[in-house]
């Protein structure tokens, strides 16, 4: 069970906790003689008082641009003999032609796996793994990236391999074919897990089957992608004037700058205009939908509608509302899980995006026969925060939770640097995280209710159930008078002969 913290990039399926590891701020070890610790008496938590938290320290960093437009961020950190870096490119799977869905993802994978002009894929793998280093690339929906990680003693070598991957990829034809086989295998397996089905089909209902934010890779779209397409998409995507490079770790800045200048200074941006048009998003469907899976004893439920962006004024109050609904002591967890025992997983949150409308999404899983009560419970909680003000106590708890844990946004330099780069990429102010903090401090009960009333609309809801139709008793038709339930066919389209 997960709920999103306010700053994490909203993920489609926020399922795995991720260990972001890295390094440090400034050491404040007290040296020398220390007074003996004061005697302590065990106390109940209500009797405790706490000292002030020492101030958050933002490590120094440098931002500069090369003549070719490449933006560089450097942040030193010498706690461990490691260096990590990432290049962010203005591109994305959402920018490719729908007939060639998957082109962006495939190019992102082939960039690294296809080897370089100097090294075959195998030789590159060996060179990295012998040094316990990595170079990885990928193109997601809204962004492209290439990253490396190395022991600092191997920095020069690994950075050289990294820049070769970025600038001189070979896109070896046999590696492209290999990747296509992998993608085909992935298509064949996409209905093996009910959670995957629910998530995928929910996005299609919200954004539309053909929307860049929901469409899926098919055998046909894969077959339509040629090596020339990959190379052409690479040329328009991976270029210095559309690249932000961030490096964190145990490096010498003068040496690092020389390495960067050497590797990327003579790289000229192509004449072709960059890919910048962000596709818009609109809600495609509303109503109740069912994917019948007779083997299941549980229903996987998704409820929601089109949402908004982080830059909009309602984002802050709705982020606070997320805390009221979710988490320990959140309304959904308390009511649907702990009190009614209806689910192991239940959630509803406003999942905003940086540059296009995200989704307000709720749901969870419940046994087949409690599907309708579960949906009604979640809908009731959604309606409640629109119709009635939350309590002052709930507001205080939600704000405290965000503000008291604010320090966890500054655990290590790589976390801080990747946030700065994300803000620059999406055109947000570099202090957006602090603006958010101030916004939360100022949020009121009435602002939350007003935002909920504006943004949460029961009439727009998509309700999707992946479950065993015969066992869902009472049936979904009982959710409302004259309810029609639309069946969704998830069979996988065969490749063209």
């Amino acid at each position: 069970m997960h709920w999103l913290t306010s700053f994490s990039l909203v993920r489609r399926r926020p399922l795995l906790p991720w260990l972001i590891g890295v390094l440090t701020l400034i050491s404040v070890v007290a040296w020398g003689w220390q007074p003996p610790a004061a005697a302590v008496t065990a106390r109940h938590y209500t009797d405790l008082t706490f000292p002030e938290l020492r101030e958050i320290q933002i490590p120094d960093y440098e931002r500069y641009e090369l003549d070719n437009g490449l933006v560089v961020y450097l942040m030193e950190n010498h706690e461990l003999p490691l260096v990590g870096g990432s290049a962010t490119f203005r591109t994305g799977e959402r920018l490719v032609d729908g007939d060639k869905t998957g082109l962006g993802n495939l190019m992102g994978d082939a960039l690294r796996l296809g080897g370089t002009e100097a090294l075959s894929a195998d030789a590159l793998n060996l060179a990295l793994e012998q040094r316990a280093a990595s170079v990885e690339t990928g193109i997601d929906e809204a962004v492209g990236s290439a990253s490396f990680s190395a022991l600092s003693e191997d920095l020069e070598t690994v950075f050289g391999l990294f820049s070769d991957v970025v600038r001189r990829p070979a896109f070896a034809p046999d590696r492209i074919e290999f990747l296509k086989t992998q993608y085909r295998g992935s298509i064949a397996r996409r209905n093996d897990n009910p959670d995957d089905i629910a998530s995928r089909e929910f996005y299609k209902l919200i954004y539309g089957d053909n929307s860049p934010y929901a469409r899926t890779i098919e055998y046909q779209t894969l077959d339509a992608i040629s090596r020339d397409d990959l190379v052409a998409f690479y040329r328009t995507s991976v270029r210095p004037d559309q690249m932000i490079l961030g490096i964190v770790g145990d490096f010498d800045p003068a040496q690092m700058k020389a390495l960067i200048a050497d590797a990327f200074g003579d790289w000229e941006a192509p004449a072709a205009p960059p890919l910048t048009q962000v596709p818009d998003a609109r809600q495609a469907r509303t109503g109740v939908f069912l994917v019948d899976q007779p083997q299941l004893t549980q229903s996987y439920v998704q409820i929601g509608h089109l949402g908004g962006q982080l830059s909009e004024p309602d984002y802050v109050p709705l982020a606070v509302l997320n805390e009221v609904l979710n988490g320990f002591g959140g309304r959904l967890f308390n009511e649907v899980r702990s009190r009614q025992g209806l689910a192991y997983v239940v959630y509803a949150y406003w999942a905003a995006r940086y540059d296009y409308p995200g989704i307000f999404m709720g749901g969870g899983q419940t046994r087949s026969e409690t599907t309708v009560p579960f949906i009604q419970s979640v809908k009731r909680e959604i309606a409640a925060v629109r119709d009635r003000p939350i309590t002052d106590d709930e507001l205080a708890r939600a704000k405290d939770a965000v503000l008291n844990s604010f320090v966890f946004n500054f655990q290590n330099p790589s976390q801080i640097l990747s946030r700065l780069i994300r803000y620059e990429y999406y055109g947000y102010p570099s202090d957006f995280v602090f603006q958010f903090q101030r916004g939360v401090e100022a949020t009121t009960v009435s602002q939350i209710q007003a935002a909920a009333a504006r943004q949460l609309n029961p009439d727009d809801l998509v309700i999707l159930v992946v479950g065993n139709k015969a066992a869902i008793q009472p049936p979904l038709e009982t959710l409302a008078p004259n309810m029609t339930v639309t069946a969704i066919d998830i069979s996988i389209p065969e490749a063209d002969a």
């Binding site: 070890v29 938590y45 093996d192 025992g341 419940t366």
Partner: protein, 528 residues
């Protein structure tokens, strides 16, 4: 409580969607068996090998660790790290599903859920009154079970209804999820717990000015726990079982695999428990399990972050010193008989195929433990590993391959599990044949120096990267303390890895990869 745990599979080429789904399948099944795949990271000694600059950093970290044991037997480990004003905590209970009695499976995990329900003072509006209703409910539930066992449906129905009335009455006293709410409101993050075959872990992180809050809450939690909302939570756990096992083909495959691979040892049973056992579990069962296994000498506390060890010790004495010493619980003594013939089974389920094969291996305390980690590295870690390179990249018969070393735990003799996802139109057996060719080769021919060096370097760098994470280090120190007798083995193991030779790998491979030591599990698509 939510039971997800970090789980690293080798960094392969698998498309993200599939990679994610595969991770999830395995992770969901293995409720919180931490540190599964990667060989426990290792320490280093030599100065000529690549990456030798790492050693001083590891030494420095080891020096920043302090440890002490309270008079009641509770052990604490503290690692100072002042990079940011935050602290990660772990309370490691040296008890897991392996300690459960036959017929009472799932009790360890059930207890872990109930450990979030509060204490005599947290989570209740009136404990004295609440306690009476709870006792009454337990009586009624005992009668429900008796009526059901006697086949008296009408009586069982009436008692169920009585239980429901009492449940609503009890709910009036409950301040729901108060414990977690206190933590979250104070700025705590990552509050969760996992139950594995060997251990139960409770953890979260706080801003470093609130260390005493953890001391107060965590000590009270196990000093005077109240297992309230027991019957609601039973439904939640049954949902969790449906999600992880009944509705997950890979979850079912793993459950059956353990039942086949082990005949006697409790590792054969599912961590989450069998449905029938969960259904009949009582609050007394939970209490008895708690009394037996949550004594202070069976618990380890770990604190990693921006703290002063002297202050930690003073607080620990005051708060955890309140626990009364208890006798140590008995160790599991059931030994798995030596396997004498190959085992194999096939499940037909609505899913694309999977192939698993596992071999019995000794526990984490065996001198050859590190060799198994190296074998795993040579076979499946990274794109240059043998099975990945051959099966996935060159022959393209598998979409991915992977392993779990120490399955389902590693405190006792366990399994080295290898798995493969057949590519479209490939039979699972084709994966098995190739896997066994590679295992045979590992038994016949010494591995190259290059491969050995690669795995050694990766192990060392792996530990280094882990030092970045307060919570990751808390988990690692606790695990080694509990399973090997000292947290120092996190670092000492480096020397052991450094000393592994090609002959060691061949010797261990030859002893392990015998047909008579093998269990094969296949998942094939059911015609629907």
């Amino acid at each position: 409580m939510f039971g997800f745990s970090w789980f690293s599979t080798p960094f392969h080429a698998l498309p993200k969607a599939l990679r994610r789904s595969l991770h999830r399948c395995l992770v969901l099944f293995l409720i919180g068996v931490v540190a599964l795949t990667t060989a426990p990271p290792a320490a280093w000694a030599r100065s000529t090998t690549p990456g030798s600059s790492v050693q001083p950093y590891l030494d420095r970290v080891a020096k920043a660790v302090t440890e002490f044991t309270l008079a009641n037997g509770m052990k604490f480990i503290v690692l100072e790290r002042h990079q940011a004003p935050v602290v990660s905590f772990m309370l490691y209970a040296n008890v897991g599903a392996v300690n459960e009695e036959e017929g009472k499976t799932g009790v360890a995990h059930y207890l872990e859920h109930l450990a979030f329900k509060g204490t005599e003072r947290i989570g209740t509006r009136d404990f004295a009154a609440e306690q009476q209703v709870l006792a009454e409910m337990d009586d009624v539930f005992a009668q429900v079970l008796a009526a059901e066992a006697a086949g008296n449906t009408a009586q069982a129905e009436a008692l169920r209804s009585r239980l429901e009335t009492l449940r609503q009455q009890a709910a009036e006293y409950v301040e729901q999820n108060k414990y977690g709410q206190i933590v979250e409101q104070a700025g705590g993050v990552g509050l969760n717990a996992t139950t594995g075959a060997d251990a139960t872990r409770y953890f979260y992180s706080l801003p470093s000015n609130k260390v005493e809050l953890w001391m107060s809450l965590e000590s009270e939690r196990f000093l005077e726990p109240v297992f309230r909302e027991f019957y609601e939570e039973k439904d939640v756990i049954l949902e969790e079982r449906r999600m992880r096992v009944d509705n997950s083909p890979i979850g079912k495959l793993m459950e059956v695999f353990l039942e086949k691979a082990f005949e006697q040892h409790p590792y054969r049973r599912p961590i989450i428990g069998y449905e029938a056992d969960l259904y009949t579990a009582t609050r007394d069962d939970i209490q008895a399990f708690f009394d037996a296994y949550y004594g202070p000498n069976n618990l380890i506390g770990v604190v990693v972050g921006d703290v002063n060890p002297r202050e930690i010790r003073a607080m620990v004495e005051a708060y955890f010193g309140r626990f009364e010493a208890r006798s140590l619980p008995a160790e599991v003594t059931i030994a798995e008989p030596r396997q004498t013939a190959p085992r194999e089974f096939t499940l037909a389920l609505p899913s694309q195929p999977w192939y698993l094969e596992g071999y019995h291996r000794p526990s984490i305390t065996d001198p050859d433990h590190v060799v198994y980690g190296m074998i795993e590295g040579i076979l499946v870690n990274g794109r240059t590993s043998r099975l990945y390179k051959d099966l996935v990249e060159d022959r393209q018969v598998a979409l991915d391959v992977g392993s779990i070393n120490g399955f389902p735990g590693d405190k006792y003799p366990n399994m080295l599990l290898l798995y493969g996802l057949p590519a479209p139109n490939v039979e699972p057996d084709a994966i098995g044949t190739l896997m066994q060719d590679h295992l045979g080769r590992l038994s016949r021919e010494p591995v190259s120096q290059e491969e050995l060096d690669r795995v050694k370097t990766q192990a060392r760098a792996g530990l280094l990267r882990r030092l970045d994470s307060n919570s990751g280090m808390a988990a690692l120190l606790a695990e080694y303390e509990a399973k090997t007798g000292s947290w120092r083995n996190v670092f000492a193991e480096l020397a052991a890895i450094d000393a592994v030779t090609a002959e060691d790998v061949q010797r261990v491979a030859r002893a392990t990869f015998q047909p008579n030591n093998r269990t094969v599990g296949k998942l094939v698509p059911a015609e629907s």
